[in-house]
Subunit: 371 residues, 2 copies
């Protein structure tokens, strides 16, 4: 089954579409919550169903260490393991080449386990096999993700390795019987903030040919003004009939800006991490629930989001639960932020369909620039 | 509104009834989960509704310190604060006279705040007022709860103070306009393991006259064989048309044994605390989900409890979530144990209605004696 995207509407470069996979269909733009270790923090599959999530991210690095691929495979794969029937996209472990700075050579990377310090080698082929065994609907190639402001030499090596690894990953994937029928594989474009390197990386990735394309190595510490030009360069080159995924982004202005450049999918831990620390996303902008002014507030977190699963609870109650460290707080606040993001993305999609995306985009800037 | 219990069935001394309060009705035997600080750990009102809980316990000591009675009152009372429409029973802070061992004199007790070390005086009258302002459906008198094996002198003083405080609490309660119409007040019988003291304490409490009667100062470290005779002594003396509450008990054999002696209500943090540490209640007895044998088990926690809200998740998945400290584990395992206890209590009630309580009781011993 070839993964494609059909476009319902295009407004400027912004796309409202449907991605078709072996599992089914999901609409875009699509925000994907992150279930690093088999669960979005505080939540389970029933919560994600109630929130209307379409695609959940799983993290290859963490899952291969705990509980291990053998265990997940023995329990029927990641879908059955988590009892999640929607789409699953697994990352390749490439992000840990950025965050854990492991030893990398042409063959692959050697990671230390954050759990017990044990040593694990991950190669492009190995990452394909692990994700095949996990049963991801969409797998990602193993890439080399350097810091956005790495030296030219580091960036050069990263682009070359990413391209060579992508070839190896694609070969491994297309040789695997299960993968081609049941799974999709996305390539990843690297190249930091250098437009020429981005162009080269995009060309080399597109030439190999994938079911979809991700833009990696951005939203890793650089400013938004620095982030958008390389994305624009790459997005203009990507095939129109395949989904585009911007890795690791979930703030409102960021989401509207990457969608403005033609991105279809994005993921981030930000909404749930912010929630656990008391920062809520609302139609009025950021709300810090820890502030004393909310102690006796009977209002819901966002009066303009009555469909939120936690709309029945007051700011005062939620503030109390957070202040006494009740785990219920992390859960309810996470549910709110995810509900808000899904609603935000649905409104963004509708704006594209209605041909008023630019006005939506201006409104988002107005609310969130000050937030 | 006078709180009463109507009995649907009596089997031996075991009672299946309905408690009628100003708020409404709930069936007995009744297990009350504990929402110490305004939430049962990991859960919120929507979860308790889905579980079919009838009565939730709130803890006066914790709530008066955080967020404070003023705040809860400003937010409409504990029901509106937690958005829980079922019954709420608040303890008086008396348990903290046992657990925190504060300075106690004839007037009351001076507690230290576990949050900031600040000093707080609680008197029988003050406890009535706090619980009135919280808006509890059932308030408890402030009692003196000594260790079960305290010296005779300590026990004597505790029984006397408990009786004198009960008089003061009853006077304060009946003088309060709101309380009598909207709330019920339960007295508490003390007396440790001494049957004569228990008899005396029961007489003095019944003489004052309350809407219901609790047996306190048991299940505080003594064995079950030591616990039951004083309970039997007291239960035989209590008025038949008012509810009886055994404080702080939630293990299966314990529940069946106190119900066998005519108890209607009981509460405990045990099911949720056990859950958070990986010990599950099942129809086969205790199950320690941390055991390696469950790593690849696709079975639900209790195959004989298909209505459990977490029946869809496998033992292997739940074990994994607990072993990597995902907060989702605490939640799902707590939901299971509470669902199991509510189902257990419903089956116990049905056994009383059907006149086969003794056989139910034997079965419980058979499964749980070895567990």
């Amino acid at each position: 089954v070839k993964t494609t995207i059909t476009l319902e509407a295009i407004d400027g470069a912004a796309r409202a579409g449907r991605v078709h996979t072996a599992r089914g269909t999901f609409t875009t733009p699509c925000f994907m919550p992150v279930g690093t270790r088999g669960a979005v923090r505080h939540l389970a599959a029933d919560d994600l169903e109630a929130l209307g999530a379409d695609v959940v991210l799983g993290n290859t690095y963490h899952l291969m260490l705990r509980p291990g691929v053998d265990t997940i495979e023995a329990l029927g794969g990641l879908h059955r393991f988590t009892d999640w029937d929607g789409h699953i996209l697994t990352d390749s472990g490439g992000y840990q080449i950025f965050s854990l700075a492991p030893k990398v050579d042409d063959d692959g990377a050697v990671f230390r386990s954050v759990y017990d310090g044990s040593s694990h080698r991950l190669t492009p082929e190995g990452a394909v096999d692990v994700q095949r065994r996990l049963g991801a609907d969409i797998q990602m190639v193993l890439d080399v993700c350097p810091p956005a402001k790495a030296t030219a030499a580091v960036m050069r090596t990263a682009v070359d390795r990413t391209a060579l690894w992508a070839q190896r990953a694609r070969r491994q994937f297309t040789n695997g019987e299960v993968s081609v029928d049941r799974q999709a594989q996305f390539g990843i474009v690297q190249g930091g903030l250098d437009l020429a390197l981005r162009t080269e990386s995009a060309e080399r990735t597109i030439e190999i040919g994938f079911d979809g394309y991700a833009v990696g190595g951005l939203s890793v510490g650089e400013s938004r003004d620095e982030m958008l030009p390389p994305l624009a360069t790459v997005a203009a080159m990507l095939p129109h009939d395949q989904p585009r995924y911007f890795m690791g982004l979930g703030d409102p202005i960021g989401m509207v800006e990457v969608v403005a450049l033609g991105v279809d999918m994005f993921d981030c831990v930000l909404p749930t991490r912010l929630a656990r620390h008391g920062t809520l996303l609302t139609s009025g902008g950021r709300l810090n629930i820890k502030r004393a002014e909310f102690a006796r507030s009977d209002d819901p977190l966002d009066p303009l989001l009555p469909a939120s699963p936690v709309a029945r609870y007051s700011r005062g109650y939620l503030r109390h639960l957070l202040s006494v460290d009740e785990p219920t707080a992390g859960r309810l606040l996470s549910l709110h932020n995810l509900a808000w993001v899904f609603d935000f993305v649905a409104r963004m999609r509708q704006a594209i369909v209605d041909g008023r995306f630019e006005s939506f985009r201006r409104d988002v800037h107005e609310v969130w620039a000050a937030s």
